[in-house]
Symmetry: C2
């Protein structure tokens, strides 16, 4: 079996992660080992950079620079959310052919896999012998087939560290605390808040994800119950929670407020869902201290919050993608298979198996509508690694003196 | 000079910090060295715990437990925001006298110093020989006299790390990013975002604090200018920004929206100011991608984001407070004096010099209404310490092929 001689093009797509550049560097350093590869190019701002022929030459960047970039959050090449049609693909191919690209690596999530699949179909139609490798990344962990996605572990570490901290903050000034976590369809990230918990009385006490219907009156009741038991309540909630009819809770609560005030409430603000949930608790209970945070972009880009396992695997999926590409006439998506507790292997799966599919949390990861299971904890723990150690004071109460 | 023999009582007050328990542990371990001190008590939930005689015995807690608690964010004893009147003080003293308290340590901020001052005046009136030591803490860094406050450095590290990360996030998916930072009167924390910046083109590009009047039309113009120059713009803004008349910007923008929609917009949501600023940019420019985060409680309690200098000094102010207390008939607030770049000494200052006073950023820390000075960077850098290293790709552009 002979491999082609030509150039490599790498692009990054979709939302950045804390370790997506590990994959970029993994591809570059592995590609350099292959004499069949002459040049290694990067597309600026994803596939849009291919379209516009905005390319960077990565062939000879120093390893020192690469290793620093690998530790830098977010997509070093720039990103984009374009979805190419036939015309878009055609233009991309014109540019790629001019630069003798025979291997195209796209580091991306669901949408990235879809783009790879579209490109692959189009390349076949056009008899362009292009090998397309999808290198997985997404903090949402919602990619099909793979056990988990690079980027998720570090974001989950951020979420767990945040809840570990706010648990103590809320314990010292008791009340209700709601943390709104990214995740429109899958709740893996929100569910990871559970790792912040050490003791039964610690938060998060309630976890709501998009996989389970969210009923506002149940939510109020749940919070009341926890508050009665512990004198406080910490809630982790996904931005994408919906009711039984699939209506986003943010839209539903906004409607109620709109109706009350005859006003025009915008849904766009990212703090919106949290504020509405907090107002709901304030208006439906006699709990006065209700606080809310929407974690926003920090959860995917905070400098210095990286899971070692995640960083290592993000590097490896990049390296593996090159090895798969060099192994013959293949296209596909690199998938992570968990083979023991804790070891992984890498497989190449068909692009069509990943493209356009969204994985959500399976039933066994829940014990109820508002709490995750031990199975989920076992699943997520090795991906996140060690968290900062914390402790309560082990002090005895002093007897009151009459 | 003879010192009294009796017991110590420690309380924590106000908003927690990442290192406030270092001060608690500093007091406990230093107090244990003194044979004149028999028992070391802690008040649960601040001075309310004194009022209610809810005390913990800290005399013999293991050093292992204490050292773990020292690294745990938030107030291990619990906190409160009560402001005692004469009656409250009287009841506190009754409890304290019963337990033979002769040294009272309150770890707190501005309000804590005020409480200490009130207690001190009342103790004098009642001829209660109680020594009151205020041990400084606040993430806002707005305490009078002291060069800086324990708790600030770690929160500033969180802010700087957050902006270091979102700078790269925003570079990969360009647009406007607004980060809303804690600080009602002083902008030290918001200004610390500048440490996230490495190169001229990096964010934050604009920094707005309560010390400078915030004009909405200037803000829009500033953002437009930066966006034209760099194709993106990162803004750090304090929650407490006001206009020239001292009107909070959140209230002002809300009024405009209220007027537009004849609706009833609540000011309470913590994401409110950010959402309004983002809407203002969207409505006043043709920039489509505008994102906003309100950092919220994470900035003071995130587990794992601690400045080493801050942790060390938080421990030392606790220890120093005990040493001052044991040095004779004194009351006061422990103050940090910067003696060189970078070394500090500790002084005891009168409670009245700190109580009820708010320090804001001096003029020399600004170069304009929207940017801080080199002087500020020199001031804040040693307090925060090293940040995670990051880098851009050093890659050459590839020539376009005709």
């Amino acid at each position: 079996m002979t491999t082609l001689v030509g150039n490599v093009l790498i692009a990054q797509g979709g939302g950045p992660t804390a370790v997506i550049n590990q994959s970029l560097v993994g591809i570059i350093l592995e590609a350099r080992k292959n004499t069949e590869i002459e040049k290694i190019y990067g597309a600026k701002y994803g596939i849009k950079g291919v379209l516009n022929e905005d390319l960077l030459d990565l062939t000879e960047i120093s390893v020192d620079n690469l290793e620093l970039v690998a530790c830098t959050p977010s997509s070093a090449l720039g990103s984009v959310r374009d979805r190419p049609d036939e015309e878009y693909c055609k233009k991309m191919f014109e540019v790629m052919k001019k630069h003798n690209i025979i291997y195209f690596f796209l580091i991306g999530g669901n949408d990235g896999a879809t783009v790879c699949n579209i490109l692959n179909e189009e390349a076949k139609k056009q008899n362009y012998e292009l090998h397309i490798l999808h290198v997985p990344k997404t903090i949402d962990n919602d990619l099909a087939i793979t056990d988990h996605t690079p980027g998720f572990g570090s974001a989950a570490k951020f979420i767990a560290s945040a809840f570990r901290g706010v648990n103590f903050d809320n314990a010292s000034l008791p009340g209700v605390y709601i943390g709104v976590v990214m995740g429109r369809h899958a709740g893996f990230l929100t569910a990871s808040s559970i790792l912040g918990k050490k003791e039964e009385s610690d938060g998060p006490h309630l976890i709501y994800t998009p996989e389970r219907d969210f009923e506002i009156h149940h939510f109020v009741k749940d919070v009341k119950n926890v508050y009665e038991k512990y004198g406080r309540c910490i809630v982790a909630v996904s931005e994408g929670i919906t009711d039984a009819d699939g209506v986003p809770i943010a839209a539903k609560l906004a409607k109620q407020i709109e109706h009350d005030a005859h006003g025009n409430v915008q849904l766009s603000g990212c703090g919106f869902l949290g504020d509405l949930l907090a107002d709901t608790i304030k208006n439906s209970t006699n709990i006065s201290r209700v606080r809310v945070d929407t974690f926003g972009y920090l959860q995917r880009s905070f400098a210095g919050c990286v899971s070692e396992t995640d960083a290592k695997e993000a590097r490896e999926v990049g390296m593996q993608a090159v090895m798969f590409a060099m192994s013959g006439d293949v296209d596909g998506s690199v998938s992570i298979k968990r083979v023991s507790d804790y070891e992984v292997e890498y497989e190449l799966v068909h692009l069509s198996e990943v493209a356009g599919k969204t994985k959500i949390m399976p039933d066994e990861f829940f014990i109820s509508n508002n709490m995750v299971s031990e199975k989920f904890i076992e699943y997520v723990k090795p991906l996140v690694g060690e968290l900062p150690e914390v402790a309560k004071l082990k002090a005895a109460e002093v007897s009151k003196i009459k």
